[in-house]
Symmetry: C2
Subunit: 416 residues, 2 copies
């Protein structure tokens, strides 16, 4: 302890003399971390939260700053602009709000849908089920286009339902994290434009944004909602939503009152407009440190062409899936074509269970996730491959994960 | 740059060899911060966010961890337990949810109040106005006990309204951050028990919890809602709510459906119970890093007797107010008795405005806040004195703030 006391005093002394307290604090902290470090960091290879870049983590510990300070306002404003870039939209309105990705459903259900209106949910798993529940809470009449586990509804099925009545909105879970199934947002959007052009196109991009291509303007999407902790590479705690001009128009012209307070765009829209024009404004205190971290991550993400980023996710996904397939394991998605590029959902081989495999892999300092879809939760596991683990292959995250999986299965007596 | 490249490579090399990458990362980061540091940190002396302890900031940059990992689950569970300690409750149910303090209003309005039920709002400023708006969104019939700006409704006024009809709940903004007025929660709670014992007692403790005494069990409170960024000393992004057994009972027995999805206790209650019993569970991804930070801060807070903490806030507040009074300035609260202990709201002296004073004080590296109450926003400023700025006087935050204020006023030509 006396060494630490010395360092602590040294820190204080230095602070008074040279004002470089941040530096010494950090070094001091590092030494303290060393003194308490007992286990190495386990790589977080679940389908969100993903591994975070060091610069993003540094931004998370930005010393306190007022939400209306001249230093924070441009960070918030620029983050809004960078989101436009990420989602290929010129006039879409980004929202950055304190909350989990789930809050985005409430925003859609309470701002865009009026009680009694019809909504079509394209459902490929747990998150489709939940979006359905959320819409019902706010009074929507919900029809579902549902497929068997591991499959997705065909365009024909969706088309048939779409023309059966007037739908205010269609919601599409781009990648359902519970099954790893990806749907073709572009094709569904085209179908909607053709069969039911007034229907708002809502995309749940929680497990896709930043890993899969999403072009808001070109595809004519009305809402893309997502969260910070997956391919955007920021710790959990941000609900991120992009709304098209059309969606904002629909919200503005709704006849019945908005059915939420915290999720109401009537509160958030003026805030986003203010910060983007580099002015402070107040509705509820924004999560300052998380927004500093988002800003850092979005700058890293947009510093290389997004097409390269999506391609990297595709290639890595194929490599992971090829290797797992070669081990003789089966995936939840029925074909490679409908499997997401940011995660892989895999059935346990016969005789091996969650309680066997997950701790074994964790023993190799890799965290992977169990199942989530209620009907088959105990039968499969999930691996995330998004963000820096994909775009910075020199970190070796993917290789270590696959190796650990292979060794763990072997240790459990699995043979192909 | 070559020095940094050297250090960077050194870091990588060390990582491979000894696995102490965290340490070197932090030192490397410190050196990098030094290289980019242009302006010193401005002390954040607004009434939230407050200055954060170094250990809390370190927790904010905890490397990625799964929300259901064996390392995170006990951190979440213990944080729930520590909140009970902070609020002096044995059986109250804490909720820790991703969101701002505002979300707590939605929780109250959508879980406890059924459409058409009467609620009495004790209103002492902007936050009373907003809680009123929130309750109306969810269908409550709201009556207000409102006072002039800087004052609070008398117990007699509240009693008269309370007996006029059957109120499902009474909401009390403990400290309204817009006016710095504190109300006597204990006395109002006693009054309610006497005049209308079935009425749920809801306390908005956003600007009081951790700075002012709040005894949930002894005072018979049903809900205390707060946020992370004020006297709890954690960056913004956590909505924290304590609900009494009675409140949970009322929620469970409600007849109409819960009117929110994201704020619904039907989703959050099982999560809190699971984590407290050291099991992972999923509704929406919790803000892992913020909860690590909350855990760190709650441990620091509860490591000294809470009575000492409240006394420190009272003494510091008096010192700040005495000094400002001695400068010849006037406060928004009409008397010291109804002024909060975690903040001070002060009228500008004649001839001096926000655009004069705030940048001047910021020039001395101190951030203070402008006005918030709509009717007088341009006429006053606010200083926060909560958390480590109060409990660790050796940091000199309070002295620096008062000094800078005094010098700035002098520079602007102000004479008592």
């Amino acid at each position: 302890m006396s060494t630490f006391r010395f360092l602590y005093n040294f820190r204080i002394g230095f602070n008074k003399k040279f004002g470089v307290v941040n530096i010494l604090n950090n070094c001091y902290k590092s030494i303290r971390i060393l003194s308490t470090m007992t286990t190495p960091h386990k790589l977080c290879m679940v389908p969100g939260p993903v591994e975070f870049h060091e610069d993003v983590l540094t931004s998370m510990s930005t010393p306190s700053d007022s939400h209306v300070s001249p230093s924070f306002i441009p960070i918030f404003g620029e983050s809004i602009e960078l989101l436009r870039k990420l989602f290929f939209t010129n006039k879409g309105q980004p929202f950055i709000v304190s909350g989990s990705g789930t809050l985005g459903w409430d925003m859609v259900a309470s701002n865009l849908v009026e009680p009694g209106e019809d909504v079509l949910v394209v459902n490929t798993g747990y998150f489709g089920d939940s979006f359905y529940e959320c819409l019902k809470v706010y009074g929507a009449k919900v029809t579902q286009a549902k497929a068997e586990i591991g499959d997705r509804p065909s365009l024909e099925t969706i088309a048939d339902i779409l023309i059966s009545k007037k739908f205010k909105a269609i919601t599409i879970t781009h990648v359902d994290t519970s099954t790893g199934v990806i749907v073709d947002v572009k094709a569904i959007a085209e179908l909607v434009k053709q069969k039911s052009p007034d229907t708002l196109i809502i995309v749940d991009g929680v497990c896709s944004a930043g890993a899969e291509e999403i072009r808001v303007d070109e595809w004519g999407l009305d809402v893309v909602l997502t969260a910070s902790q997956k391919a955007l590479g920021v710790p959990p705690g941000l609900s991120i939503v992009i709304a098209s001009e059309r969606a904002i128009g629909v919200y503005k012209q709704r006849k019945s009152p908005i059915t939420s307070y915290y999720a109401s765009w009537a509160h958030w829209l003026p805030i986003m407009i203010a910060y983007e024009s580099r002015k402070g404004a107040y509705f509820a205190t924004p999560p300052v440190q998380l927004i500093y971290a988002l800003n850092t991550s979005l700058k890293l993400i947009t510093s290389i062409p997004l097409e390269t980023r999506f391609q990297q996710h595709k290639e890595t996904s194929n490599r992971v899936k090829d290797t797992i397939e070669a081990m003789g394991l089966r995936f939840i998605p029925k074909s490679r074509e409908i499997a997401a590029n940011g995660m892989t959902a895999v059935y346990y081989p016969e005789g091996i269970q969650a309680l066997d495999l997950l701790p074994k892999v964790a023993g190799h300092n890799i965290l992977i996730a169990g199942g989530l879809h209620k009907s088959i939760a105990s039968k499969y596991f999930r691996i995330g491959h998004m963000g820096i683990s994909v775009t910075e292959p020199n970190r070796g995250h993917i290789d270590k994960t696959i190796e650990s999986l292979e060794i763990s299965l072997k240790e459990l007596g699995y043979k192909k």
